[in-house]
Amino acid sequence: MSQQTSVLYDVPGPRQRRITLISSVVATVLLAVGAYFLIYRPLDDKGQFSMELWGPLVDPSNENFSQVWDRIGLGLKNTLTAAALAIVASLVVGTLLAVLRIQLKSLTRRRFTGMATPVAYLLRGLSVTLSAVTRVCVEVFRGLPVVLTIFFVARGFPEFGISFDTLWYLVIGLTVYNSVVIAEILRSGMEGLPGGQAEAAAAIGLSPAQTTRMILLPQAFRIMLPALISQLVVVLKDTSLGFIISYEETLNIGKQIIGVLDNPIQVYVVIAALFILANYSLSKLAQFVQRRLSRGRKSAGTPAPQAPPTVLASQAEGTGGN
């Protein structure tokens, strides 16, 4: 906090400190009064603080308490299962996609000399087409809302006579979107590496595939680790979309509980708190990793491979996506 305030403000002197103190007190009082009249009073008027509504969620002696939390526990388990499967699948597919795009891009630059002219032209045309196709796929799936990819998967697969558990619809829908995003994160990470890395790899005789696997990918993973963790937060949040296809995740369970007990605000407060807790710790982990990485680079004494400016953008998009 002190770091960012110092950008805009001088170190406060005695007078400034007094002003800050006074305005802090005034602001606290104003906020408390505002919270009382705008939040507490309306809620209290509607009886939203009554034990009848909160009891099943917070009071262990309540008759519904254990049942409610059993259901929520089941929901959490389902949420975490879907999130874990989706993130693993997206990481695998995303990595493959990133490698594919990098390889195709380097293929389009090759001229295939030494082959018969028609073959060379054919190969060049083929690589350009493939490169364009993957590019279009990436743009399309990145531009589609996750809600729709999940919805389309759940509606579209049965059209072709393929039907799964709803869990798999959710996982596939999430994977389609997130693998593309992860592919873009990794690709920008690989392209942001200094050109010397790939050149040195070529100089010691590594093939392009080996270069990607042993030189570029590990470094890209390292630089992009914070962005990848933020994407994990996005996936965890997006599992809540499972309610659209009536997958029994936390929110859906919450809806069922509300159907019986009729206490929407209380149940959503609890569910929101659970989500916030999980995601907040994940974001803190991302920040921690970022700090560790930047410290590690300094102590290593090598010119640091700076994360390219696209990192910021993709992070913003990642955390902004649902």
Partner: protein, 235 residues
């Protein structure tokens, strides 16, 4: 494929409604986000705490939960979000003024959720300005307002324009959720309506809906890419 031509007006209507809520939500989120950003960088600790709490809460909560709060929590409090029936706006954006409150609920949820990300984009922009800039401005004797207006904000604006754009794109995509919260006739609800209720083939409808969203997101994304490249050169 004939459904695309036969039902073109339905698709166009859905597109138009989605565009409406996106424009309104973008304006709302930019304003609210700017306010929260001011809170977060203010020198008064309680205000800063409020801004930080707001961002942490809304950034770590799924939009779905915010939507549920708006769509089921507000009615439980007896509110119909009638304060959003702004006289001139509701004639421009017809859904704002209707008796069904779901459009307004969805709008509130989108604005609240997106504002947290807008705040972070703006704040990261301000933090990206080198401290020496503001220090130099102060030592020249510029007042706080002058400092902001002539030195800090022009530079921070440059750094936050691309993240802001990404946030808006994400918001457009998030708006697909409103169809599942009672807003009738937006793009995503149109997909549901045409395939399940009216029994049209799934694939063409899916393509039509996808095109609707891609029209909004892809050009914006391309524009951002270009901006980013230009900035990279300028730096």
């Amino acid at each position: 494929m004939s459904v695309l031509i036969d039902k073109f007006d339905v698709f166009a209507g859905g597109f138009w409604l989605t565009l409406q809520i996106c424009v309104l939500a973008a304006i709302g989120a930019l304003i609210l986000g700017a306010v929260v950003a001011v809170l977060r960088i203010s020198p008064v600790p309680p205000l800063r705490a409020v801004g930080t709490a707001y961002v942490n809460v809304f950034r770590n909560m799924p939009l779905t939960v915010v939507m549920f709060f708006a769509a089921f929590g507000l009615p439980a409090l007896g509110s119909n979000a009638d304060f959003l029936r702004v006289p001139v706006l509701d004639s421009l954006f017809s859904r704002l003024g209707t008796d069904l409150p779901y459009f307004r609920f969805a709008l509130i949820a989108l604005v609240l959720y997106t504002a947290a990300f807008v705040c972070e984009a703006l704040r990261s922009g301000v933090n990206a300005v080198p401290p020496g800039q503001a220090e130099a401005a102060r030592s020249l004797g510029l007042t706080f307002g002058q400092n902001l207006r002539h030195v800090v904000l022009p530079q921070s604006w440059k750094a936050s324009v691309v993240p802001l754009g990404s946030v808006i794109i994400a918001m457009i995509k998030n708006s697909a959720l409103i169809g599942f919260f009672g807003v009738v006739g937006d793009l995503s609800q149109t997909a549901d309506q045409l395939t399940s209720a009216e029994g049209y083939a799934f694939i063409p409808v899916a393509i039509g809906i996808s095109i609707g969203y891609l029209i909004m997101t892809v050009p914006l994304g391309a524009l951002l890419d270009r901006l980013e490249k230009r900035q990279a050169v300028a730096r």
